[in-house]
Structure formats: structure tokens, C-alpha cells
Symmetry: C2
Subunit: 304 residues, 2 copies
Amino acid sequence: MSAADISATPEWIAADWGTTHLRLWAMRGQNVLSKRSCDQGMGRLSPAQFGPVLEAEIAQWGADWAGIPVVACGMVGSRQGWSEAPYHPTPTDPRAHLIRVPDHAPRPVYIACGIRQDDPPDVMRGEETQIAGLLAQTPDFDGVVCLPGTHTKWVRLRAGRIERFQSCMTGELFELISQQSVLRHTLDLQGSDLSAFDAACAEALGDPARAYGGLFALRAAALLNGLDPISAASRLSGLLIGWELAATRDLWSGQTAALIGTAKLAALYARALGANGVQTQDYPAEPTTLAGLHAAWKTIGACP
Amino acid sequence: MSAADISATPEWIAADWGTTHLRLWAMRGQNVLSKRSCDQGMGRLSPAQFGPVLEAEIAQWGADWAGIPVVACGMVGSRQGWSEAPYHPTPTDPRAHLIRVPDHAPRPVYIACGIRQDDPPDVMRGEETQIAGLLAQTPDFDGVVCLPGTHTKWVRLRAGRIERFQSCMTGELFELISQQSVLRHTLDLQGSDLSAFDAACAEALGDPARAYGGLFALRAAALLNGLDPISAASRLSGLLIGWELAATRDLWSGQTAALIGTAKLAALYARALGANGVQTQDYPAEPTTLAGLHAAWKTIGACP
């Protein structure tokens, strides 16, 4: 960020406001002038605190940006957030839905609505904006979008609409199992063994029932055979992602896949999908989120 | 426990010394004179502390019981425990293996050896003593033994020998998911909805791959449909036990099953197995452990 960037006045402010963090970008059109973040996530704020936190954070930029609109996505729009942005039902265009926060004097604030699926029940909040960002770059995308993370989403996207989707708790399970279960003694997360990952992923996808027993087997293999802790961690990752692929096969089989996420995790999913004949294209998380928020900003005139 | 019981001198002392607790029973033959327990588990003790902890706990009984032997099972015999009681390989008779702790002056202390399976790798430590207790009561048992718990074991037992076994982390996963994942907001563990349990168990056993997506669906159903938290907790239990049954089907299918565990958990497994045509017989945990330790005590003369 240069001094020249700070001196420019933004046209709008992008906000990704999740459970643990608030990330802000000062924007002119699609260009980032400056960015900042803090740990004032939804999880630690009462509804009345969101407005003051937002203004205090913007004030840190040291400029008079009163009246400049904010477009936000994420858990800030949940029932426990600032102002509920209700879930829109599938099938739906992920780009179309914003609410305006009532009674915030300093500036207009808009929040993207989450998306819900009624049968089987599923929800997303934040990912719809990343999918909108993908559509801003690839309007005719037809295939599956995978957004790996704490609660990975698999989304069937066609003709600009989300038809259906499936969430899997893979990221959260990996974290709980690797950090708090008996396997924590057995795993080293500071490395990777891709052939162990590949083998475990193929095993779990081929026989997901049996893979359930493969979890404790990591501990036993460490005790009996000295299984390398890096290989064990990669095996755990492969088992869980293979399971997830088995659970979502009807969404990705025979499709083109887009991956929206951090580079390291996206690379594992690309590898697992590639081994099953699915070509993937990467959409890095931050620019894709910004593209989605930009598309939302462009619709503000239509927002009630 | 009556005063008369205390005044009797035990012939031996039974000990179940696990990761979190030490449980002691003063015994005459198979009869319990008195029992006590404390939270001095293996997890908080260094090797040099086990001896003093044992003597201090026995001294609490207030009698001069020097020289009376102790027979122990559980993690006290692990590599991180008091004195390693090495794993015996399958197939094996679970009753035959004890080590004596070296250099403990006040009394002889014996520890039951765990059991290992090399392919696929698996281990047990403590459960072998409960299986020995089952064999003390039912010497000709032929079938599968299920020991539900943190790491549930499924054990094929025939002609007095463990042929093979499979561990599943169901108890630990249920605890981590229900207490620490996003689902913790969705679950109430203080009740049960058996029809929700049955349905989820059948779903997971019928299609274990799809069940993986059923975890986050509990959260979504709570948000969208107000899924009852007691029903949600029973569904989670059913999904995990159904998965476990899918993973262990070759062990229990068409067999007689014995359940060794606490009443509440054993009842869920009995229900799940019964729905699949498997009759079960209950062996309550504590008397079965004591029967196994008693059988071990009877072999002490043969211990090196």
C-alpha cells in the first residue's frame, strides 16, 4: 500500500466479517486502495457493538470517509450478527440478494444474504459471495464449485444459478481429531506425504465404511510400526477428504470443478479430484471474495 | 460396604488403572470387600509416581496390607505407564499374559498385557481383561464381543481365543463433535429420542458415504426447521454408531454378540444390533473387569 493509495478516496468499502475476524478493503471500483483487518469477529460481538466496531476500524485509516458505503458478507448477517440477512432458498442466483442495515447513521451498510437448501437441509453464508465472484470472472461457468474450509461446500452451479449444495465438516473434523483426539500424539502437521494422502484418499473413496476404522489404525500403526507422524497426518487428511468425495460424488462426478480457497488446501482437493478424472480451476479466496462484493456493490441501486 | 467387610483381610487387590482414574477393589477370591477410586490416572503420572500413588491409596483403607498382591489392567501397562506390559499378538488367549512390576518393595504388582493385531494394525489394553472376565463366565463363547466406549472394540472370539478385532473412535468423536464443533449449539445430551437414533443409524449403515454429509445437516436442520436438540443429539449418536456398524459388519454379521460396557451405551448398541438381527447379551463393565482380574490373579503362580 503506497501513500498515494491512502490519499485516494474510496468509492466503497468491502467487508468480509466472519466468526473470528473483520477484514476491510478500501475500494475504487475493483481496485484495492488499502486493506486492514482485526479480530473483532461476530463471535465476540453483541448486535449493538457491530456499528461502533466498524466505524472505529474505518477511522483507523485516518481519513474522512463519512457516507461511503460498506458492502459486507459473512456471519455478520446471521441471526446472532448485526442485522439478519435471511437465507434465500435454492435454486437461486447467488448475486442478487442484499439487505441494508437499518439505523446506522454514518454510512449505508449492506449485507449479503446467505443461501439455504430445504431438502436435504443445508445453509451457506459468505460462500455465496465467493461464488458470485467466480461468476463475475466466468459468467457461463457450468459445473461444481468446491470451497474447502472448516465446513467445505460443494455447489452445483449452472446458468448462473446455484441448483443444490452439500456441506461437509471436514476442516473442523480434521482440526478436532488432529489437535484433541488420541491421534494428536501420532501426527505432525508440519509437512506432507503426498503418496500417503493419495493412498488414504483412494481407500476412503473406494470403501468409505471401512475407512471409519482407519482412524484408530493410525494410532495403532504408530505404536506398532512407528508410522511416520507426517505420513500419519497426510493419511488422516486423505481419509477425511476421500470420505467427503464419497459423500459428494453425485455433485462432482463428470463435472468441471472450480476450487475457491487457500492455496494449500485447494491443492489437496485438486489432487484428489484429479485422481478421479476431474479437472479443476483455482480461484484464490481473497480476490474472488472481492469480486463478489464488487458485483454486490454494483447492484446497490436496486437494494431496498 | 459394612464394617465387617473392612475388617476382613483381602487375599488380593484388583486395580483398573486407566488414563484418567485408578480404581481399587479389596478382594477375597471373587468377593469384593471394599472399593475405592481416585483421579490419579496414567495421564498425569510419571513412571516413578505409580508406586507411591498405589501405596498411598491402599493406605487409605487404614489397614496393614503389606505383601498383599495387586493385579492391574489398563494404561498402567503402556509404554508411558508404570512398567510396560508388552502387547501379545493375535490370535491369542486373552487370559494368559501378565508381567510383574520390578522393584516395588511393598508388595508384588502384576499388570495384564495388552493385545495387538499386526494387519490391519490395532491395539487394545484393558479390554483383554474384560474379555477374560467374559470367558470366566461363558467359557465356550463363540461370537463377537463389542466393548463400547471412547475407542470401541469389536472382537471376534472363538474357542477361548481372540482371532481379530477392530477399534472405532466413536465415543471420542461423539464427545469432540458434541462438545466442541459447531454442532454443540444444536445438541442437547440430556435426553434421548430413540426413533431419531434408529433412523439415523439405519441411514448411516445403509449408505455410510452419504452419512458424512449428515453431520452438518444437523446444524442446518436446527437453523431452518428448528430440529429438536434432543433429537439432534440422538441422530448424531445414530449416525456414528451406524457408521461403526458399517465398518465392522464382517465382524458382527450373523454372529452372537456380547456387550461389555456401561448400561446406557450398551443399550444403544444392543438396539442397533437388534435392528440388524443380532441378539446381544450384556456383561456389565465392573463385574466383568473384576472377573477378568480374578482369572488373572488365579494364574499368578505361573507368572515369571
